[in-house]
Amino acid sequence: MAKVSVWSSNRFWRRSATWVTGVSAVLLILLTFDSMAQMQMGTAKDIKNKVDKRIPSPVVINYKIEYKMSRKRGHEVPIIGGMSPDGKSLYQVKEKFFGRDDYTEAEARALIHKGKLTIQAKNCMDCHTLLGNGAYYAPDLTKAWLDPTWETLAPAYGGKEYAIATFLQNPPAMAMHERKMPNLGITKDEAKAVVAYLKFMSAIDTNGFPRNFGKIKGAVDAWK
């Protein structure tokens, strides 16, 4: 029998496929361990010690949250409780959330737990995007808490958390666009929890997504 070249040998390619798959899977698992460690939700202690977390403690709802350009990282980053001169979060400047800025870790966790459950129970992700994932029928919610729209509505409702909560409980009544959000039967408690989740989510470090959020004003509409 003629000698078969290794390049046309099924055995060689079967072994290559097994090795390539195995090595890729092992690398993915190792990277996942590292990512999971970096993505654990922060605690109140981290905030007290001014430790930046990619996903901060839910007690960030007690603080003012901004989204500022970091010269060091080359993109915007969440700034929690005021910014130091070197562009880092100070965790000092508080901001009232439904009249309080002293939510304990347990209270804040309970709020965002209910908020996340509500976000899933109402299928938010099948119209909106969250962290950019979902459907494209309604605006992205990643930094919705910081959206200028709510700043303009805030005074009439005594604060933007009240404006958003009122909207959520009967969206067609506050419709902002021909494409309305339906009334999903969101209760007052659920609305408060969802707003807490939106505020918490706006403090997640998304590596600069969305870029230039809310920074551009006076842009012109194309052919309209």
């Binding site: 079967r14 290559s16 390539v20 990512s35 996903i55 459950l117 509500t118 969305p210």
Partner: protein, 476 residues
């Protein structure tokens, strides 16, 4: 082919194919409703809102593809292994359990729609996570049914002929089933939630499903062209190496912006940029075999199956490869993530990579069921493939046009605010794209009607020699 004496496994395959095609129709219908709502937002507002139509649209897609995938395995399994499927009674029971569960889940989506913000909603109404909205009870049922399916495949292969195609499928199906578990837990941490959610979505559609397609594509080549099994299986192993080599770590392109570390930028960019490579390979392989085969003066044994496989290779390369690569690099994805870009890519990729080949597999079963030596393309069959393919291609182009507007206006000009979002959505060019998308949706549905008609009637419209099984040499 075994004439009219089908294996019990192949009869089960026909049941899976039947439900798959019904759900395919549901997918198109609810996609149409959602497409109308983009242009006329008051259409069915408060009755069947966009979110509900979209859930049914994408869940019907995933479920019908899985049904057709399971069906294709039950079809080829006894043929490859050379024996009846082991545990076929259990397999039949699993089919009815799964179908009943799917029906209940869909009815709850349509008539209950949403629940209160409690764990009970996650268990019984919806999990609210795109693509895998199915409530937890259904997840557990799906796992049970898949375990029965895996038992059928493993027990049959172990006691029969273990071909290279079956070896790849055995390894691939266990990974496919295992990955579903990654989507079956709840966490308050949305970043961690989405991290594992992508393990299901990406490692299905950009890894295990692609390998499944390579394996079933190999089987179709053998069945339609009499392609050399040794060459087909060698190509299959090369494909597996390239698909898993690029696809597993290509997962990183979903980890750019969800609270994940920055190293995923480089890993995701590099490996996802390699993902189109095996798709080119698949494409070259099929066309090469076709040329070689016709050069030797042979006929194609099942023209519709082979035609759909050819569309698969183009569609997979264009939809998954080209349209995926367009926005996979982080410097571009920063502006395109969460826009109609993903919709454009998703439509052509799911169609090109999966819909096409599974229709091809169903045509193989149609030929086998009728016991024909050959299956020619009928007029209705040609029109179906032309309308569906052209409709999907132009729908993707239309969505891409809208995606450009959204990226430029919302992301570029307005910095991604709500005002920017709505400015882009109201833009005339954006709406024109949406209009063409809707029109193309109607074209695809017309193609679907013809496809169903053809699947039901094509075996009765074959030339006389197909029935006699005469193999005449075509002009070389």
């Amino acid at each position: 082919m075994h004439g009219n004496r089908l294996y019990e496994g192949q009869k089960l395959a026909l049941k899976y194919f039947f439900v798959a095609m019904v759900l395919f129709g549901a997918q198109l219908l609810f996609g149409l409703l959602a497409a109308i709502q983009f242009l006329y937002p008051d259409f069915l507002f408060g009755v069947l809102d966009f979110s509900i139509n979209r859930i049914v649209h994408i869940n019907a897609l995933v479920v019908w593809l899985l049904y057709a995938m399971i069906g294709a395995v039950y079809w080829l399994l006894p043929d490859e292994a050379g024996r009846e499927v082991v545990g076929i009674k259990l397999g039949n029971l699993a089919f009815y359990v799964l179908t009943a569960a799917v029906a209940v889940v869909v009815l709850v989506y349509l008539f209950v729609q949403v629940g209160p913000g409690k764990e009970s909603t996650i268990w019984f109404i919806t999990e609210g996570r795109e693509y895998i909205e199915a409530p937890r009870w259904a997840d557990i049922g799906i796992v049970a049914v898949v375990l029965i399916f895996l038992y059928n495949v493993y027990a049959t292969t172990m006691s029969g002929r273990r071909t290279g195609i079956l070896s790849v499928l055995m390894a691939d199906l266990i990974a496919l089933a295992g990955l579903y578990l990654a989507g079956m837990f709840y966490t308050d941490n949305i970043a961690v939630d989405q991290y594992w959610w992508w393990w299901v979505i990406h490692l299905w559609v950009e890894a295990t499903w692609e390998v499944y397609v390579a394996a079933v594509g190999g089987y179709i080549l053998i069945k339609t062209l009499n392609a050399n099994r040794k060459v087909v299986e060698m190509w299959l192993w090369i494909e597996v190496a390239m698909m898993f080599g690029s696809g597993i770590l290509g997962l990183g392109h979903h980890y750019f912006w969800i609270g994940t570390p920055e190293y995923w930028w480089e890993i995701g960019a590099l490996f996802s940029a390699l993902e189109p490579v095996p798709l080119v390979g698949l494409f070259v392989h099929v066309l090469y075999d076709w040329g070689k085969h016709s050069g030797q003066g042979h006929k194609i044994i099942n023209v519709p199956a082979f035609a759909w496989l050819t569309v698969e290779t183009f569609g997979n390369f264009l939809g998954a490869g080209v349209w995926g690569f367009m926005h996979t690099l982080p410097q571009i994805n920063l502006y395109t993530h969460g826009t109609q870009w993903a919709a454009a890519h998703g439509h052509l990729a799911f169609f090109g990579a999966y819909v096409t080949i599974l229709i091809g597999a169903i045509y193989l079963a149609i030929q086998g069921k009728a016991g024909l030596k050959e299956l020619k393309m009928t007029k209705a069959g040609w029109w179906a493939i032309v309308l569906i393919t052209a409709g999907m291609l132009f729908m993707t182009v239309a969505l891409t046009a809208s995606a450009y507007v959204q990226t430029m206006v919302e992301r570029g000009m307005y910095g991604a605010t709500w005002q920017g979002y709505f400015a882009a959505q109201a833009n005339r060019w954006f709406l024109e794209g949406m209009g063409w998308r809707l029109a193309m949706g109607v074209v695809v549905i017309a193609g679907y009607v013809l496809l169903i008609y053809d699947m039901l009637t094509c075996t009765k419209k074959q030339p006389a020699e197909a029935y006699e099984g005469e193999v005449a040499a075509a002009a070389a």
